[in-house]
């Protein structure tokens, strides 16, 4: 289980960044008093436009960032005080965090298995299971840099799951993948959910969130603006579907800005 209580993360802005962002304030609240709970056996979807604070929130949960205020606990461990214990319980997969291109999936799987304190036998059994599921065995001895995007993503997911973590955090898990690979990833997420794992995903793909998520939280400008099941969100926003609900929520918070563009994202932000 993950509990996020009044999480706030403040970044200090350099003068250059202040000029770029056209602001006179020298701080930016990337996450502003966010609270939510992701339960075991549940997929929690974190949705929001680019720069809304999703990645900051996920990084705080994964112990990569320290909250400026508020607390985050993962399986009962405080992310600030018990960082190593938290990292033992979770896996965090994002496009920004990659596996070393000079090593093979097999080497990396064994390396991270050992880093999590697993024995050779445990690693081998886990490798057979995950490499078999994702069809990695065929290219397990090829260097990461020689693999296609889909192969890399499969290897990255398998490596991140080596220690059979209770908490799984995937940032844009199917981004850039072909339909077949994306399907194997979403099937894996469903399987993990059935095993009772706590899963958080952030995604831009509304259909993916609709199909996968038991609970959805929407973050805009660092604030959680709504939370609930798919139906609850549609009902609360009186929208036709999740995308429509999303658009309405965004428009409410950015009345003076340009509307949502499906290609470039909300507000044209990158």
């Amino acid at each position: 289980m993950i509990q996020v209580n009044n999480l706030t993360k403040v970044y200090k802005l350099s003068k250059r960044k202040m000029q770029q962002m056209k602001t006179t304030e020298n701080i930016k609240k990337a996450a502003n008093d966010i609270s939510f709970e992701a339960k075991d056996g549940q997929i929690y979807g974190l949705l929001g436009p680019n720069g809304a604070g999703k990645t900051t929130t996920l990084r705080c949960i994964a112990t990569l960032l320290t909250p400026s205020a508020g607390t985050v606990t993962v399986c009962g461990h405080d992310t600030v005080k018990e960082g190593e214990a938290v990292r033992q319980e979770l896996c965090f997969l994002t496009n920004e965090i990659k596996l070393d291109p000079f090593f093979t999936p097999k080497y990396l799987f064994e390396f991270f298995g050992h880093a999590h304190g697993m024995s050779d036998e445990e690693i081998e059994a886990r490798r057979k299971e995950l490499f078999g599921y994702f069809g990695i065995s065929e290219f397990e001895n090829k260097k990461m840099q020689e693999l296609s995007t889909g192969m890399k993503q499969k290897a990255a997911i398998a490596v991140s799951l080596v220690h059979n973590p209770q908490v799984i955090i995937f940032d844009e898990p199917t981004s850039g993948l072909d339909v077949v690979t994306a399907r194997s990833v979403t099937d894996m997420l469903k399987k993990l959910k059935e095993e009772g794992k706590t899963i958080i995903i952030s995604t831009h793909i509304m259909s993916e969130a609709e199909k996968l998520c038991d609970c959805i939280g929407v973050i805009i400008d660092g604030k959680k603006v709504i939370e609930g099941t798919l139906q609850e969100i549609i009902d609360k926003t009186q929208a036709e579907d999740l995308e429509d609900a999303f658009f309405k929520l965004y428009s409410e918070h950015h009345k003076e800005e340009e509307p949502f563009n499906p290609k470039s994202g909300f507000g044209g932000r990158k």
């Binding site: 965090i97 090593f103 080497y107 991270f112 880093a115």
Partner: protein
């Protein structure tokens, strides 16, 4: 500690599982060092041999009658092609010969005074006219300089002695005392002069270059590729991660540096003996241990410093631009040692990192390093290495540095 070893193994695997890395770190340096010094040695030998074998083109004007016989007796006429000119040689012809010396086609013009022998014979009292011999040569041309030296040694000196004998009869009367030179020398120091000048500079420079080539990519490169974050997400403590990285990189840099240093010593030793025919330098077991200890501590210090600087950068390009000024400082400190050859700094100066190490390596090659100098060298480097290690550890803890947060 167990996790640090895991990181060390990964750093080693990164190199030893990659053929290109093995070649660039351990094979190329050997080829390059032996190639450079082998080429330098063979070029120097070839130039010297060529100069020695060159038949000088020499013109002698107004040569006294004995000169031809002297050239035959000393064998000078076999080393030079001599053209004898008389006093009737025109100005334009003389100018042409001098132009030839300037152009490198002629090597030497020797002009005796018109009445050289008569002036010599007429000398009776102090203050009387002394005859002159003028040598025209080109100091910028090796052949010409060599021709001048050979003429002086084989002809001018002998002719002077011949005329002195004619004037005084028994030359022994002119000898009022003789000079004996007895060499008292530490042969190891004498043999190590060349190495002691070059080796500290080369070792210091190569160690830093090794550390730079490995560490910039291992830290800033990993940060740029996003692979460092995957390590930060593992349960490995940041301090274990920092120490593991540093030790792994220090091992690799040491191995690379040892390859460089051993290649340098052997290739430079053979180069030095090939040009001066001297004996190579031999080190005692203790000196080898001292050299190894200085190099190991120095390479760890370099690794820690390069890592501490690289970690502040966002990518390898930025890291290289941060580290390059340090490289220049290291080169300058190494050069200072090379140029201050023969001066003995006070013991306390050995505490200065890099400079102290270079001085200590110099001391080892000429076998003058004292125990206290060795200890100060190690201590100075260790203090700096510890500070840089602390810096790396703090950087790994900093989300601002690791994630630009």
């Amino acid at each position: 500690m167990k996790n640090s070893m895991l990181i060390v193994k990964k750093e080693l695997a990164r190199v030893f599982k990659d053929k290109q890395m093995i070649i660039s770190l351990f094979v190329l340096p050997v080829i390059i060092m032996f190639g450079i010094y082998g080429l330098m040695g063979s070029l120097t030998k070839s130039i010297t041999k060529d100069i020695e074998e060159h038949e000088s083109v020499v013109y002698i004007q107004n040569a006294p009658a004995e000169i031809k016989d002297l050239a035959a007796a000393t064998g000078y006429n076999q080393t030079a092609h001599i053209s004898y000119l008389n006093d009737n040689t025109s100005e334009s012809e003389m100018l042409e010969i001098k132009d030839g010396i300037l152009a490198g086609t002629n090597d030497l013009l020797v002009v005796f005074d018109k009445d050289f022998k008569e002036t010599f014979s007429a000398y009776t009292n102090a203050g009387d006219e002394i005859p002159e011999m003028t040598l025209f040569y080109n100091s910028a041309e090796s052949y010409s300089s060599q021709a001048k030296d050979v003429f002086n040694a084989m002809m001018a000196q002998n002719y002077r002695t011949m005329l002195q004998a004619q004037r005084f009869g028994n030359l022994d009367l002119l000898t009022v005392f003789s000079i004996n030179e007895e060499k008292i020398v530490n042969e190891a120091k004498e043999n190590g002069q060349f190495l002691s000048m070059m080796l500290p500079y080369l070792i210091v420079m190569l160690l830093f270059a090794s550390a730079m080539s490995i560490c910039v990519d291992a830290i800033a490169g990993e940060k740029e590729r996003g692979t460092l974050s995957s390590l930060l997400l593992s349960p490995i403590k940041r301090s274990e991660l920092a120490f593991g990285k540093l030790f792994g990189l220090a091992i690799l840099s040491s191995m690379s540096a040892i390859v460089y240093a051993v290649s340098s010593i052997f290739s430079m030793g053979s180069f030095a003996s090939s040009i001066d025919g001297g004996e190579g330098v031999t080190f005692s077991f203790v000196q080898i241990l001292e050299l190894a200890a200085i190099m190991v501590v120095l390479v760890y210090m370099f690794v820690a410093i390069v890592c501490a600087v690289s970690i502040l950068a966002k990518d390898t390009k930025q890291a290289s631009s941060y580290v390059s000024p340090l490289y220049i400082v290291v080169i300058v400190l190494g050069l200072v040692t090379m140029l201050s050859m023969g001066k003995s700094p006070s013991d306390i100066m050995y505490l200065i990192p890099v400079y102290g190490s270079a001085m200590a390596i110099q001391g080892i090659t000429i076998q003058t390093l004292t125990g206290i100098q060795f200890l100060f060298t190690i201590l100075g480097s260790l203090v700096f290495a510890a500070l840089a290690t602390y810096g790396v550890k703090k950087a790994f803890d900093s989300e601002k540095i690791m994630f630009n947060a």
